[in-house]
Amino acid sequence: MSPRTPGADLPEHPDSLWRSPEPERSYDVVIVGGGGHGLATAHYLAKNHGITNVAVLEKGWLAGGNMARNTTIIRSNYLWDESSAIYEHALQLWEGLEEDLGYPILFSQRGVLNLAHTLQDVRDSVRRVEANKLNGIDAEWLEPDEVRKICPVVNTSTDIRYPVLGATYQPRAGIAKHDYVAWGFARRADEAGIDLVQDCEVTGFDTDGDRVTGVRTTRGTISAGTVALCAAGHTSVLTDMLGIRVPVQSHPLQALVSELLEPVHPTVVMSNAVHVYVSQAHKGELVMGAGVDSYNGYGQRGAFHVIERQMAAAVELFPVFARAHLLRTWGGIVDTTPDASPIVGRTPYDNVYLNCGWGTGGFKATPGIGSALAHTIAHDEPHPYVAPFTLDRFVTGALVDEHGAAAVAH
């Protein structure tokens, strides 16, 4: 897998993508949410388990939520064993995904730098690198001069407010083109006979004891053998309909792009202390994001002061960005959990699976969670990769607390 040159033009999409079928009245599996996770789950249900009597219900347009709004960073260098296992599983699938999907997803393993700016950042970074190495994940700690070699535009001078003290580096990490990924999964699922049903909002559920028997939608009631909820920021809207309590909060998260620029930024840089993350996408635009807005919000927009602060951080860390231009800003809805790890697995309903709480990790997990959730549905048994992420952990206290490693969010 050779990294593509930034600036290369985008490959064409295929001439045929998916049908727009009328929903059937019954499916073996109904996936609620036609974003990356829902589409990937559909693909792997068909590919790995031969389950194709499946519908993916999308209230808007396919992959129009967070999948269309994220900053496309892919990495697996998480702190805890449970997290790094599922993200590394995903990363390995990413490495073969272009072939699997027959779609040019522009997966570019250009590496990710997580900068450290304080002594505690350094400790946290070394801790994570050492844990990654023992888990077989490519990771290294770089001194500032090595950071400069990989990304020369990073300001590594020592007289800035928060000098770069070093960075963790995962060479296999990178970016991909989000729409292409989603459409690749959608096309494969559609080819397998799975119905991708757009403009189909779930309005309620019919239940019978411990089972959900039907999914009520704006396009009629659909009965389902198994229901998988893959609604990301809108998860609570669905679980409220089912009367399931889930410790998820939905927050706005903004991102932005610049105009197309000649290649200046060969990798992905993330900084927690100065708070910005940046990559230069294939066409040449700088893609950036920052922290979540503090309040709950489903508005797919945030406050502009967050963008201004992010710009200050960008110019501080990358002085040459001063006259790059902000071209477009937008927002998504991230579903966050108390321990910054996802919730995947069983619910109080026997035939309903939950997949939510990915926070800022959803995109990079896409193939990993898709395959693990498909396995879970097919075998009616949580796949080992998702087993630690039960809803029950909040009761027992066995959290997978990625806040502690908070040097890396996103």
């Binding site: 045929s16 400790r123 190495k133 023992l134 888990n135 110019v315 006259r323 902000l326 066995a398 959290l399």
Partner: protein
């Protein structure tokens, strides 16, 4: 090259002054008042750029921000990527070149200044065209606080591009008078060169003012180059005008093809003839003005091609009177020419069918497909748009509170209507704000409007070229065509968002200003559904691109994030301290003497504290004054241990947990009186813990009579540490009996120094005999110097945070946030003794009883001693089981925990570490391995307290 295409007269340029600029390496001239685009056109140059994907020549196609063609890279005075030639004001020394698609960033930092200003207005008017000026005048005359912003270099809007008259004289005289009148109102802020680029909640509009760009090298360095105005308006009037829209046909992208209205702008505003031989292709009446004006200016107008079957009888008559041929029921089906259009291919058009055509020679092809109101700010404010079938455009579809759209942005296209509507909208805004209108609010009289012939909504001309739409460009910047939209629809896409992503239309520099509505129209046509159902993609801020640095403003360099310093900072700097960032604080990390590295300095500082006396600036510790009859009750609820039993005059260490039972902070508590405590927090925890205490006190237990006040900066805290600390403190504060008996450990005493109150506390974070000195920072320097003087004979040594850390780690005292990570309970830290069993409840208590808390494999704080007595384990290192063969098994390797703190100890004469280890306390005495740079370092697990475990030293 001379200005071959400059009209002999007219335009708002300063013809008396000539400025020289460079484009694509060629030296050209123009005049102040020109844009780069107008100067290029005046030189006969249409072609500016080469398209990004297909490499096709592209030229200037509009006169302002909606131009999809003329992207340039600025090189001088400072490199700036991707601007539109139409919006770059000309100045001496400007150097630019056309862009093939990617801009180039400077490789040196930008030294220009940028800033932001908050502004408050009763009425903000965006756009100083006729409607906006009328609105601003009405509001200003009523005495309202008015802000008027306009993106052009001068006011007038569409009036700058035409020959309108008001009160029988040129309309620009009224503009000048209006501007002068506004300048006379003290409460009016009128900004030109200022683009309102984003509209947000509650009347918040962001506008970018380009303050010095037009001055070139003469721009003053101490004035910001660009300024972001953060305008909070009680009422907003959007008078942003409309963008002309092209009609799509084959080879519609050649240089020399331009929007009809733009040609008028170039003629009237800049005195430029954009061509010598023109064909005008239109679907509506407005383009006839361009044809007639150009004709009058000496351009040979070959034909007006009007797609409407009947055209416009009245306008036809005007043209025929002028000798201009009008072809009604005809369209332009294609063009010829490479570097520049040479022919327009014109054919009859009826019922959607194109007949046989002919070529008409031209070097300028003007196009008008109608007008799209600039509804960006309205839409950004989440106003709903409605599709107007007659105009073929999206218009504001609802009333918003506090934001009104007027003029052509609201679909009002005649001058009299714009003036009246601007006045009406401003009047309504004043009414809503309860500001009485002025008695006199006269507007000039515009000629009676003539009702235009109905426009034809035509998105594209059927492609008869054989290219099947592949040269019919919808988005010139993305090289996206009708064929691309057709492919997208053919691939199964139904949503306009999918079509946008498939084709990339609207994602380039212009964000779809001309292409967006075309795409909706063409997509709807291909899908056979109404345009209203297709809708538009979302209008996202910013309206036009904004430089990162402008948004960063002054929050750069020193001002990026505040530095907090203690009262002794200057002393530390003078003493050569190396600083550490702790949150926003600058703390001395160590004080190297000449020739010393950190290790040597820290070993020296540690030795001084353990064997003589050291002194630390501990002022950054958070301090909270907790007062009131129920102060002790609150502390009992928030600390894991009992604070109510603390005696006045005494000190107790305490731990706080979150409701989840995890440690969030620790520190000492001084009971100052029955109803008063001084709570000390960690440096990083100061703000967080005050918030925490206030949250509980206000929201949960408002009945408690207790108040918390930050006093972090009210007291400097100076720990004097070491066996000789008693001598030093006793010398400086002779009124205090510093003997162990009179002043026991964990007590405090008040005294004075030259009349200034001082508090002393027997608190030790090192295990040594130690006194903390608290004094008002006004006297910090004086007290610090007294301590140093008194300690000179004992070799008193100032030490920094690094030594503080070594000393505390040797005693096994954890640092919250370093030795904990939000997953650690007091029990994990070996502090069960600090968890009250008497109190019925405190924050976190219930969580201790959760199943995961009784897991024997929980990580616990222990000490580690590298067996080789040499290796300083890197902090963060992971710990694995002892591996007899000295080799790591293949991954995944189970991990036992990690090193949280690690230092070289002068006292122990060996390195040591603290670590969180699974079941750590049960492993004391075992050997485990730590991988360090590829080798496994054997380490012995010990208890966390490595120096003076019996605590013999604390009393000296």
């Amino acid at each position: 090259m001379t200005s071959t295409h400059r009209a002999p007269e007219g335009g708002r340029i300063d013809r008396a002054t000539t400025v020289e600029f460079t484009f694509d390496g060629q030296t050209l001239t123009g005049h102040p008042g020109d844009t780069l685009a107008s100067a290029l056109l005046a030189s006969g140059r249409h072609r500016v750029a080469t398209s990004t994907k297909l490499g096709r020549p592209r030229g200037i196609a509009a006169a302002w921000a909606e131009d999809p063609g003329g992207l340039v890279q600025i090189e001088e005075p400072f490199p700036e990527p991707m601007l539109l030639a139409t919006t770059v004001e000309l100045h001496d020394g400007l150097a630019a070149h056309g862009l093939p698609g990617q801009g180039r960033l400077a490789d040196v930092p930008d030294s220009a200044r940028y800033d932001a200003v908050h502004h408050h207005a009763d009425v903000l008017v965006v756009g100083a065209g006729p409607a906006g000026l009328a609105a601003a005048l009405t509001a200003a005359r009523a005495g309202a606080r008015v802000a008027l912003v306009d993106e052009q270099s001068e006011a007038g809007g569409s009036l700058l591009s035409g020959t309108d008259r008001l009160d029988g004289v040129p309309a620009l005289r009224w503009v000048a008078a209006a501007v002068a009148e506004l300048a006379g109102h003290p409460e009016v802020l009128h900004l030109q060169r200022t683009t309102a680029f984003g509209s947000y909640d509650d009347g918040f509009v962001l506008a970018l003012e380009r303050r010095t760009d037009h001055l070139g090298a003469a721009a003053p360095k101490h004035v910001s180059r660009q300024r972001v105005w953060r305008i909070r308006a009680r009422s907003i009037v959007v008078a942003t005008g409309a963008h002309e829209r092209p009609v799509v046909f084959a080879d519609n992208d050649r240089p020399g093809i331009m929007l009809a209205g733009a040609a008028r702008t170039f003629l009237h505003r800049y005195g430029v003839l954009p061509g010598r031989q023109a064909v005008v292709f239109t679907t509506n009446d407005s383009a006839y003005d361009a044809a007639l004006d150009l004709h009058r200016a000496g351009v040979r107008v070959q034909a007006v091609v009007d797609a409407r079957p009947e055209g416009s009888p009245r306008r036809r008559e005007e043209c025929e009177h002028a000798g201009i041929r009008v072809l009604s029921g005809a369209v332009v089906t294609g063009t010829q020419g490479v570097e520049r259009v040479t022919h327009a291919l014109v054919a009859p058009f009826a019922d959607g069918e194109v007949g046989a055509g002919s070529a008409i020679a031209c070097d300028l092809l003007l196009v008008s497909g109608g007008w799209n109101p600039a509804v960006h700010l309205f839409s950004q404010t989440r106003g709903r748009l409605r599709y107007d079938e007659a105009l073929g455009a999206f218009l504001p579809g609802e009333q918003l509170d506090g934001l009104a759209v007027t003029g052509s942005a609201a679909g009002v296209f005649d001058l009299a209507g714009c003036l009246a509507d601007g006045q009406r909208v401003a009047g309504a805004a004043l009414g809503a704000l309860a500001i009485p209108p002025a008695g006199e609010d006269r507007l000039p009289t515009a000629p009676e409007p003539v009702v235009p012939a109905a426009p034809l909504v035509l998105w594209r001309v059927p492609d008869t070229s054989g290219a099947e739409g592949s040269t019919s460009f919808v988005d010139l910047q993305r090289d996206a065509t009708v064929a691309d939209i057709a492919r997208a629809v053919g691939a199964g896409l139904r949503s306009i968002e999918h079509v946008k992503r498939y084709t990339t239309i609207g994602t380039a520099h212009d964000q779809g200003k001309t292409s967006g509505v075309l795409t909706s129209g063409i997509t709807a046509e291909l899908l056979g559904i109404p345009v209203q159902d297709t809708g538009t993609t979302t209008f996202r801020p910013p309206y036009t691109p904004v430089a990162f640095a402008a948004l960063a403003g002054r929050d750069r360099g020193r001002l990026f994030d505040p530095e907090r310093v203690t009262a002794l900072h200057e002393w530390h700097v003078a003493a050569g301290a190396v600083f550490e960032d702790v949150g926003q604080w600058k703390r001395p990390r160590y004080y190297p003497q000449p020739g010393e590295d950190m290790e040597a300095a820290v070993l020296r500082e540690c030795a001084a504290a353990r064997t003589g006396v050291g002194v630390l600036d501990g002022s950054t510790l958070g301090k909270i004054d907790v007062q009131g009859p129920d102060a002790a009750v609150l502390l009992d609820l928030l600390y894991t241990n009992l604070m109510s039993s603390l005696k006045v005059g005494s000190v107790r260490y305490g731990v706080m947990c979150g409701v989840d039972g995890m440690v969030i902070d620790d520190g000492t508590v001084l009971r100052l009186a029955e109803d008063r405590f001084l709570v000390l927090t960690t440096t990083g925890g100061a703000a967080k813990i005050l918030d925490w205490m206030e949250e509980w006190a206000q929201t949960e237990w408002p009945e408690l009579r207790v108040h918390c006040t930050s006093v972090t900066e009210q007291w400097v805290t100076l720990p004097v540490v070491g066996p000789r600390s008693r001598d030093v403190v006793g010398t400086v504060f002779p009124q205090v009996d510093v003997s162990t008996e009179a002043f026991p450990f964990m007590t405090w005493r008040d005294t004075t120094l030259d009349g200034v109150p001082v508090r002393l506390a027997r608190i030790s974070f090192s295990g040594e005999l130690a006194f903390e000195v608290y004094v008002n920072p006004w006297y910090a320097v004086a007290v610090w110097q007294r301590l140093l003087e008194a300690g000179r004979s004992y070799g008193i040594t100032p030490y920094g945070t690094e030594t503080m850390h070594v000393l505390r780690a040797e005693k096994g005292y954890p640092i919250i946030g370093q030795d904990t990570d939000g997953t650690v309970t007091p029990h994990d830290l070996g502090m069960a003794w600090a968890v009250s069993k008497k109190k019925p409840d405190f924050i976190g208590k219930r969580s201790f009883a959760r199943p995961a808390n009784s897991d024997p494999l929980r990580k616990q704080l222990v000490g580690l001693l590298p067996v080789d007595r040499q290796t300083v384990l890197p902090e963060g290192s992971q710990i694995v089981e002892f591996l007899a063969d000295g080799r790591l098994p293949p991954p995944p390797v189970p991990m036992l925990g990690h090193v949280t703190s690690s230092y070289r100890s002068a006292e122990l004469a060996r390195p040591f570490a603290l670590a969180l280890v699974k079941g750590g306390r049960s492993r004391i005495g075992e050997t485990v391995h730590v991988p360090v740079n590829g080798t496994l370092v054997p380490v012995e697990v010990t208890g966390p307290v490595l120096v003076d475990p019996e605590g013999a030293r604390r009393d000296g």
